[in-house]
């Protein structure tokens, strides 16, 4: 049941990201909803679960894109793992703390994507990457996290996503 709901959430995130949010771009970027979901899930369930969802979500995004398959899978799996390390230590109730985590996690994941692209021969100036993609996406993701976390938190503590790691 949990896996089914989670799969639905990933699909919903992908759908919104590739359709509606393409038209709701702010500062030229759309939010990375899958990454936001990975952050939520990792902080609620720990590093292993975070890494697995990051890998699956990133791979779905890669397959839809069709190029550089593995890039998002790698960066999101790593991000999910690192965020998940805060499973027992971070205060999970506050959407503002979650927004800060989403911001930092997005900076990390997008920076890793940038480094991977550089290694693949895609030349983008660091300043353009930072102010054109990395920071705007991190800001947008944290805004989405503030708006969406309350609902996710309720679901993970009292709803269908409760005790996923058990």
């Amino acid at each position: 049941m949990h896996v089914f709901v989670l799969a639905l959430l990933v699909i919903l995130a992908v759908l919104l990201q590739t359709t509606v949010f393409q038209f709701l771009r702010v500062a030229g970027v759309s939010p990375d909803l899958i990454l936001v979901l990975v952050v939520f899930f990792a902080i609620s369930n720990g590093p292993r679960h975070g890494a697995v969802l990051g890998f699956v979500g990133g791979l779905v995004q890669d397959l839809l894109s069709g190029f550089y398959i593995g890039m998002n899978a790698l960066s999101m799996a790593l991000t999910g793992y690192i965020v998940g390390l805060g499973y027992h230590t971070l205060f999970r109730e506050s959407p503002w703390i979650m927004a800060a985590i989403a911001f930092i996690a997005s900076l990390g994941a997008q920076s890793l994507n940038y480094l991977l692209l550089l290694s693949l021969g895609v030349t983008i100036l660091p300043a353009n990457a930072l102010f054109g993609v990395i920071v705007p996406v991190a800001v947008y993701n944290s805004a989405v996290a503030v708006l969406a976390y309350r609902r996710y938190y309720l679901s993970s503590t009292r709803g269908v996503l409760r005790n996923f790691s058990n």
């Binding site: 590739t18 359709t19 894109s65 890039m71 994507n113 940038y114 983008i124 054109g132 996406v137």
Partner: protein, 278 residues
């Protein structure tokens, strides 16, 4: 316990190695896609089509709420104005080319070598690093790699990869894109590149300092490079600045095409290397 950890680390290392290898295998600009990639695109394409149709419908309903008072007629006229502006640049290109290349007018008959194939945009790259779109036309419709993609208002991009029933297009706004261009009235050459600066502007570089370049001049494709035919409207110059080296100048170019609202485009099939203004 320690052995278990080593196993995990080894598994993670293998997975990372596989992902990195996959990244290198699936870089764009290859001659053709692997069978697996082609099949994957064709499986994903109908899903993307359905999603795009549904989301466009939903968004148009949402927009209609926010644009009450702005009639549909106004929106239509704006769209028409953009198309006409592109057509004006194209007409100017006809005139200039006729003056300079009167002797080559016999090539006019070759115009019909260009066939335009209407294609629907069924998806966009879900990430923020690139500007690519997926079209519902592929190899079975005669689309080939590097085929030029246009709209009446101007240049959209070129086909990056072709599957059986779909194809991916690299938009000229993508940071990886470079198009050989000319400032229309002065014939100054330059290269128009996409960027990530989110201003929506293209970047035209390698302009010579001696020539007179001012805002509002039209930019068209130069035909150099062998991919884009000559004379397709690209954009209009909005500002010009000196490069740090002092040897060349750069210009910001606003594209003719509205890339935020691409729905249908034309793929140029077999342009035969001829100018669109022939």
């Amino acid at each position: 316990m320690r052995r278990k950890w080593w196993k995990r680390i080894l598994a993670a290392a293998v997975l990372i190695a596989v992902l990195i290898a996959a990244m290198f295998v699936t870089v764009p600009e290859r001659k053709e896609l692997t069978v697996l990639e082609s099949a994957l695109r064709d499986v994903v394409a109908p899903v993307q089509t359905g999603l795009t149709v549904v989301s466009e419908e939903a968004l148009s309903r949402i927009r209609s709420v926010f644009t009450l008072g702005r009639s549909a007629e106004t929106e239509e006229l704006r769209e028409r104005m953009r198309d006409l502006e592109g057509e004006l640049v194209l007409l100017e290109e006809f005139r200039l080319e006729n003056e300079r290349l009167r002797a080559l007018l016999e090539y006019r008959d070759s115009q019909d070598q260009s066939r335009l194939l209407l294609a629907r945009v069924i998806g966009r790259d879900p990430g923020n690093w690139f500007s690519t779109i997926r079209l519902n036309r592929g190899a079975q419709d005669g689309v080939r790699q590097d085929a030029v993609v246009v709209l009446p208002s101007g240049l959209v991009g070129r086909v990056l990869a072709v599957a059986e029933h779909s194809s991916d297009v690299l938009l000229i706004t993508d940071a990886r894109s470079g198009v050989g261009t000319l400032v229309q009235d002065t014939r100054v050459p330059g290269v128009v590149k996409g960027s990530l600066d989110r201003s929506g502007h293209l970047h035209m570089s390698y302009l010579t300092r001696e020539e007179h370049i001012v805002p509002n001049q039209a930019v068209v494709t130069s035909g150099l490079g062998g991919v884009f035919p000559k004379g397709i409207p690209v954009g209009r110059i909005v500002s010009v600045s000196d490069d740090p080296s002092g040897l060349t100048r750069s210009a910001q170019v606003v594209p003719m095409v509205d890339f935020d609202h691409l729905e249908e485009v034309f793929i140029v099939l077999d342009n035969g290397g001829h100018s669109v203004a022939e």
